[in-house]
């Protein structure tokens, strides 16, 4: 089982306690009504699918309950780092 470091609990916890929540660092447009259909579609649906380093949101749902961000390699499934939500992209 993969151990994932929770930046809030500050310890490595078993993968089964976590839930993936998709790509990280997607900011909601500040002016939704000013968006074109294409821009809004891109915000809602278009996601990166890289081979390798990927920024993701994870949630320690069966633990402290908090969302945080992680950098995971999609090839090796290794977590490079995890950091609290709101911190700058790494």
């Amino acid at each position: 089982m993969i151990l994932i470091h929770c930046p809030y609990c500050d310890e490595k916890r078993p993968e089964i306690e976590f839930a993936n929540a998709g790509q990280a660092h997607i900011a909601r447009p500040l002016d939704p009504s000013g968006q074109s259909d294409a821009e809004w579609e891109a915000y809602l649906f278009i996601r990166a699918n890289p081979r390798g380093r990927h920024h993701e949101r994870w949630r320690h749902i069966h633990g402290c309950g908090r969302f945080f961000n992680a950098v995971r390699d999609t090839v090796t499934d290794k977590f490079e780092t995890t950091y609290k939500a709101g911190e700058p992209r790494r």
């Binding site: 609990c9 078993p14 089964i16 069966h62 402290c64 309950g65």
Partner: protein, 168 residues
């Protein structure tokens, strides 16, 4: 008539005793979910010390997350509502029941379905975690004594899983 007559628990009231471990239903407890941005905000409202570190317990209050605490108390204490203050105090007393797992094989029993390393789980520590697919809160009350908080609807299954694991 006594309220106890109307209680309908999802697990047997008689303890299950196996080699090196026993599983029993704890007496009904009062439970409160405490939410606030900081422990200090809760301390102001409750007038007791609130643990800061996730996993720590103090005076029946367990810190489950950066903004979440669980208060368990047997006494019929009046709780402040925190009205008007940036805290949320919610009565969750009937949401879960508590199973007491005791004996030298207690940690071993929990580790049959819980992925945490409970041999290195300090006495007095509490955490939310998972047993197979059921979310539980484990509180280590003593070297050989754990409290397992589980939602009522999952309790019958958890009891079956625990007793099956204990019989092996």
């Amino acid at each position: 008539m006594s309220e106890a007559l109307f209680r309908n628990e999802p697990v047997p009231s008689t303890p299950y005793v196996a080699d090196g471990v026993s599983i029993s239903l704890a007496a009904p407890l009062k439970r409160y979910s405490l939410r606030a941005r900081t422990a200090e905000a809760l301390e102001t409202v409750l007038n007791v010390k609130v643990p800061q570190k996730i996993g720590a317990t103090e005076g029946g209050i367990a810190c489950l997350g950066p903004d979440e605490w669980l208060l368990r108390t047997a006494a019929e204490t009046a709780m402040p509502t925190g009205a008007g203050l940036p805290v949320a105090i919610t009565d969750i007393g009937e949401r879960s029941i508590c199973l007491i797992v005791e004996g030298p094989r207690a940690a071993e029993l929990l580790m049959t379905g819980c992925p945490l390393d409970l041999d290195n789980f300090a006495v007095g520590r509490a955490t939310r975690t998972i047993y197979e697919t059921v979310e539980i809160i484990i509180i280590r009350e003593g070297e050989d004594r754990f409290h397992v908080e589980v939602w009522r609807s999952f309790a019958a299954w958890l009891w079956t899983a625990f007793t099956a694991a204990a019989s092996h």
